[in-house]
């Protein structure tokens, strides 16, 4: 049984203009309890890779440049 990817609208968004992951920042990736954020290989900016969010906010609260926004996952909204 092959695997397919189901599309899902993710709750955490990153403003790439503000994100400084390309300068080596890893704060949001480090603090996320569910470990769902990663750095995009092409853009070197943070993004939400796994839709497994507790909308708990450390990524947004601890981001040094206010680049991260946490939204309520659509299913709960």
């Amino acid at each position: 049984m092959p695997l397919v990817n189901n599309p899902t609208s993710v709750p955490v968004t990153v403003d790439e203009k503000k994100c400084i992951a390309d300068k080596g920042c890893r704060v949001c990736v480090d603090v996320c309890p569910l470990d769902v954020l990663r750095i995009n290989d092409l853009t070197n900016k943070a993004y939400m890779k796994y839709d497994e969010c507790w909308y708990c906010m450390p990524c947004e609260a601890d981001c040094p440049t206010d680049a991260v926004t946490v939204n309520i996952p659509y299913l709960l909204r």
């Binding site: 507790w54 946490v70 299913l75």
Partner: protein, 578 residues
């Protein structure tokens, strides 16, 4: 990141603390303070800076026993009654005697507690009998303050390592733990003379009504590894049938929250704007009335603040939207709900294990020791009832200090090296398959069945059906689960904990043939409380590879409970006026 590397390394320490949320940091800190020569490792699945139930802080202490406001005797009595008499009082009493010194210590860490105009702690009444609720005006700083202390005490922190199994030694003592890195799949074996488990609740057991796997009441990182590891190591687990079920804001699935809103005049109401429960303190008896109202024509149930002065309602809103679950404000914004305007719809949470609110936990004594020598448990996963955040801190401290004495002159216990080989094989099995079922689908199915069959009221036939279905899923999990990277490997390992916890929830519930703790263990086939046969603990454990339950006598009470007091928590419903 996330590629699977099969490396294996081994380290040694005196004391291993598993879980860096609330109890864990305090245990590690206290152990180092008491013996600065002890090598203490704090292992954390996420990152200690922001892990656990209080990753964004907490709005207050729910169970502070403060001289001048309440006494350890009174608190012990209250919790014994709230937990329907099933309580080894020694641990509760010891907590109540020690928690004030922990408050003073937290205060020194920079965590402030609310004081009145006379400079006294501003304690609020929420419980039936006593006064124990203390607001924390800068409660959002808890984790930062703890982290600072851990660094200062030079605790060795290992983030992103998930413990999967405990190691027991040849003499029956604890010998360490096996863990796997959640980003590389590398194994780390930690040999230790004592192990303190602080892995939190089993919060990913039921499925939230939203259907979103991670929209749980508990931090979903708390997927029950502590319960599962204790079980497989042969420790006993107490009263797992006393589920955690909480009254929450519907869909958002966060606390409403009685401890903040109650003292300021907020309460739980039905659709007719009527108050129907006397006391909003979270107990099984209260949850039973909540459930009764939901299924009656008077439901649903609401948090009512719109009768208060706008300033008061706005003040409550401000607290609730800045600490513990700060995205609550965003949720209400999206729904256009202001606390001062209209009532907020509430609902019943998914089930879980969590002694912090109920009583389901790994069985411990008043030193936080489990039934395995050298293995401790503290916080939401240990069996001290209605323990909350301050209980996690206090019992974590008790465990850390006791462990320092325990390891004195003790050497490592030898263990069977084959255990590591077997565990590595078990954990990595889903990485060896090209094809199969991903962990998220298996997890969804387990948790959907938990909702269908295990959510109280409990029906024997439904429980038996659930056991059959879970056995089928276990076969799928063991034969067909497939993962593609180390992140999914973490989820797969969690899925196996969730399945073990679901099995334990069903087994323990079927064993106790009575109803107790209100909704938490409401068995339709045995509707009455039966003190003659069941005023005892139920201990679950693994014997010769099989799940078994036994009765355990309650320790004689230290604080006697008078006949007229013992049912005080049963009188929850607001009396109908003649």
């Amino acid at each position: 990141m996330d590629e699977i590397n099969e490396g294996l390394s081994e380290v040694e320490c005196d004391i291993l603390v598993i879980g860096g949320g609330t109890a864990g940091p305090m245990a590690a800190y206290k152990a180092r303070k008491k013996n600065p020569d002890a090598k203490v490792i704090l292992l954390e699945k996420a990152n200690v800076k922001r892990s656990g139930a209080i990753s964004m802080g907490m709005d207050g202490l729910n169970n502070a026993v403060i001289p001048g406001h309440s006494t350890p005797e009174q608190y012990t009595k209250e919790i014994t009654i709230a937990n329907d008499g099933i309580c080894d009082q020694a641990a509760v009493y010891k907590y109540a005697q020690n928690c004030y010194s922990i408050i003073e210590e937290l205060d020194k860490f920079g965590i402030r507690f609310q004081k009145d105009e006379n400079g006294e702690f501003d304690v609020k009444k929420v419980h039936h009998i006593g006064t124990y609720v203390l607001p924390m005006p800068n409660g959002d700083t808890v984790k930062k303050a703890l982290y600072r202390q851990l660094r200062r005490a030079r605790v060795l922190i290992s983030n992103r390592f998930m413990a999967t199994r405990l190691l027991t030694g040849k003499t029956g003592r604890i010998a360490g733990a096996i863990s796997v890195n959640t980003r590389t799949g590398e194994f780390l074996v930690i040999k230790a003379k004592a192990v303190i488990m602080c892995t939190g609740a089993a919060g990913r057991l039921g499925l939230p009504t939203s259907g979103y796997l991670f929209g749980t009441y508990e931090n979903p990182t708390n997927s029950g590894e502590g319960y599962t590891m204790a079980y497989h190591a042969g420790a006993k687990l107490a009263n797992l049938e006393c589920f955690q079920i909480n009254p929450l804001i519907k869909d958002y699935n966060g606390p409403a929250c009685a401890y903040v809103a109650g003292p300021l005049g907020g309460y739980t109401a039905n659709a007719n704007n009527e108050r129907f429960i006397e006391c909003d303190y979270w107990s099984g008896q209260m949850m039973q009335e909540f459930h009764n109202e939901l299924v009656s024509g008077k439901g649903p149930v609401f948090l009512k603040l719109n009768h208060l002065h706008k300033d008061t309602a706005d003040h409550i809103e401000e607290i609730l939207h800045t600490v513990e679950r700060p995205s609550r404000g965003l949720f209400h914004e999206g729904r256009n709900t202001k606390y001062s305007d209209k009532m907020i719809e509430m609902h019943i949470s998914e089930i879980g294990f969590c002694s912090g609110h109920s009583a389901s936990g790994v069985f411990v004594d008043d030193n936080a020791l489990t039934t395995i020598p050298g293995l401790y448990a503290a916080g939401d996963m240990a069996s001290v009832p209605h323990n909350y955040m301050l209980g996690a801190f206090t019992n974590g401290a008790i465990a850390g200090e006791h462990a320092v004495d325990y390891i004195n002159d003790l050497d490592f216990d030898d263990f069977d090296q084959e255990e590591i080989v077997r565990e590595k094989e078990r954990v990595l099995a889903p990485t060896k398959r090209e094809d199969g079922i991903p962990p998220n689908q298996i997890e969804f199915k387990i948790r959907r069945l938990v909702n269908d069959y295990l959510q109280p009221p409990k029906v024997t036939k439904k429980y038996e059906l659930c056991q059959d279905r879970l056995a089928e899923i276990r076969e799928d999990m063991e034969q067909n689960m497939v993962v593609r990277d180390s992140h999914e490997l973490m989820r797969a390992t969690e899925t196996s904990s969730i399945l073990d916890c679901a099995d334990m929830a069903a087994f323990a519930s079927l064993y106790r043939k009575e109803s107790r703790w209100g909704l938490y263990h409401n068995r339709i086939d045995y509707p009455e409380r039966d003190d003659d046969n069941w005023k005892c603990h139920v201990l679950l454990s693994k014997k010769d590879g099989n799940m078994v339950c036994e009765k355990r006598d309650i320790q004689p009470y230290i604080i006697p409970i008078a006949e007229e007091e013992k049912d005080m928590y049963d009188k929850q419903r607001v009396a109908v006026e003649a």
